[in-house]
């Protein structure tokens, strides 16, 4: 069966420091991969998605970037964190191919920028 792992679970970083959140998927090949952010009391906002290695699409302008160095690895990064980057970040995956495939989420990462 497929599993998705995301780490670290909790992160406290000072303003201006770099960020790296990692996500890996097991048990499937060539998945679509996503990074979402959830603001307090809100649903999820799509930040990035990827349909293959090195292929990244950004949905919103921001201080963050994403990379996919391997088929089942997705990384969310920042060179210099802002206070506004604080939030709950979720990595997710869906099977490649058919539109409308269910999206499955990781455990999430709490980021607090201080």
């Amino acid at each position: 069966s497929q599993t998705i792992h995301q780490w670290p679970a909790t992160l406290v970083q000072p303003v201006g420091s770099p960020l790296s959140l990692e996500c890996t998927v097991e048990g499937t090949s060539n998945p679509n991969l996503y990074w979402y952010r959830q603001a307090a009391g809100r649903g999820l906002q799509l930040l990035f998605y990827s349909v293959g290695i090195g292929q990244i699409s950004s949905e919103v302008p921001q201080n963050l970037s994403a990379s996919r160095p391997q088929d089942r690895q997705f990384i969310l990064s920042s060179k210099k964190l802002l206070l506004s980057d604080s939030g709950f970040y979720l990595c997710a995956w869906s099977p490649a191919g058919t539109a409308g495939n269910t999206i499955y989420f990781g455990e999430g990462s709490w980021l607090t920028v201080v």
Binding site: N32, Y34, Q38, G41, R42, G43, L44, L46, Y49, V51, S57, E59, F88, L90, A92, S94, T98, A99, G100, T102, I103, Y104, F105, G106, E107, G108, W110
Partner: protein
């Protein structure tokens, strides 16, 4: 643009009773997918149930079922025999059937917080 509305910010149900969470959406598309996700205090987003718009039959998953009214653009979730573990935020979500562009764009409602009383 598609929108998803959950009009009940909070709901409460007695253990073993049945509760229905409401969701409406707006779209000009005829083919799409609808989901209910559960987010417990751990914050992980867990799929509860999925409905394809082209299917007339309402989806069911154990104690969870939906009432999908395509013409009314309504997609409610019914939880039967509620359990303490059902307490969570529940999000309704929409996904287009179009492949391309924002392929991951699940459009979420703002959620309904469900409390289960023992």
């Amino acid at each position: 643009a598609q929108t998803v509305t959950q009009s009940q910010p909070e709901m409460s149900v007695q253990e073993a009773e049945t509760v229905t969470l409401s969701c409406t959406y707006d779209t000009s598309e005829s083919d799409y997918y609808l989901f209910w996700y559960k987010q417990p205090p751990s914050r992980q987003m867990i799929l509860v149930i999925r409905q394809e718009a082209y299917k007339q039959q309402n989806a069911t998953e154990n104690r969870f079922s939906v009432n999908f009214q395509k013409a009314a653009k309504s997609f409610s979730l019914k939880i039967s025999d509620s359990q303490l573990g059902d307490a969570a935020m529940y999000f309704c979500a929409y996904r287009s059937s179009h492949y391309g562009g924002s392929q991951g764009n699940l459009i979420f409602g703002k959620g309904t917080k469900l409390s289960v009383k023992p």
